[in-house]
Assembly symmetry: C2
Homo-oligomer: 193 residues x 2
């Protein structure tokens, strides 16, 4: 199972045998049941985890509203980026939406990897660059003008998530409320007949 992580890292940059060994030594497998809160607001996020199986969402609460910031399924990294990078308490929750199996590495272990294996910084850099691009892309959804365009964008970019996530969570991800999304959907799919 650890192979999934090694594969992913290898695609960023080839891992030496020594580095591979060290990663094996510090990576741990965890499974969260559906509904589990993996990280809470106010905590420092001290690990980064690859999703092997399952699905989670990150969200935060602002003025009493639950706002979904990200969905993370197989192949993606679960962490609360700002809290992780700055090692300060963050405002994000992370919640398992399905039973979710993760390979986790602690922040301090990752920092040691950076200092002990300079080439691991290449991987860290490319991962951060990738995450950055994804973040910019997510932002573009919120800049769409109408609810319908946001929904269309979601359909085009996350077709599989639609079956796995409640519409309420999708709605808060798209910056609208549940009822609006429901109406947009009925109008949108009616036209397709």
């Amino acid at each position: 199972m650890l192979e999934a992580l090694l594969d992913k890292l290898n695609k960023f940059h080839p891992l030496s045998p020594e580095l591979t060994e060290r990663i094996r030594a510090v990576a741990t497998l965890v499974t969260h049941p559906a509904g589990d809160i993996i990280l809470r607001e106010g905590q420092v996020c001290n690990k980064a985890c690859l999703v092997i199986k399952g699905l989670a969402r990150s969200y935060y609460i602002i003025e009493g509203r639950d706002i979904t910031s990200r969905f993370m399924d197989e192949g993606f990294i679960i962490t609360s980026w700002i809290s992780y990078y700055t090692q300060q308490p963050g405002n994000e929750f992370i919640e398992a939406l399905e039973e979710t199996t993760l390979i986790c590495i602690h922040y301090t272990d990752i920092q040691k990897l950076y200092t002990d294996f300079p080439e691991f910084n290449i991987i860290g850099r490319k991962q951060a660059e990738y995450g950055f691009c994804m973040a910019e892309q997510r932002t573009q959804i919120l800049r769409k003008h109408t609810a319908e365009e946001k929904y269309k964008f979601f359909l085009d970019n996350h077709p599989t998530l639609l079956q796995r996530v409640t519409l309420k969570n999708i709605a808060t991800y798209l910056g609208m409320n549940e009822e609006t999304l429901s109406r947009v959907r009925s109008k949108f799919h009616k036209r397709k007949d």
Copy 2:
């Protein structure tokens, strides 16, 4: 003037004399007059530039609307991140809002720095991590519920920009139109009397 760049990089990670020398060799100073388009939609962004003096904004056009994605002033990096990282044509324009002086390094030179100086990846990683956090923060503006909250957030986080940027550009940055911003401001500042 190059010192500003070296200072910034040094704060991420100490630069060896050799690395410092190489950076000096590849960095170039450029000045754009106000109104200049530094990058156009459809181009590949092949450099990253530190703003020494001046101010620019990146924007893109979607369904005929001009949407500001970022403001970049002194100390910040000007580049079109997705296009830069992927080296694919992007959809962003970058426009100098004031006369703007930059220290630029070409993408290929940066890549050579990564391969020739492994520790330069530490700097690249930390810069990407920082940019990622900034991107997440920008996104939070768009998730605010009302126009007034968005404006308040902008006031708190970019107080100096208000004097340097037209309200129209701020409005598109905040995901509202010019008139709405104007009304929010008059209501908001009236209360302060």
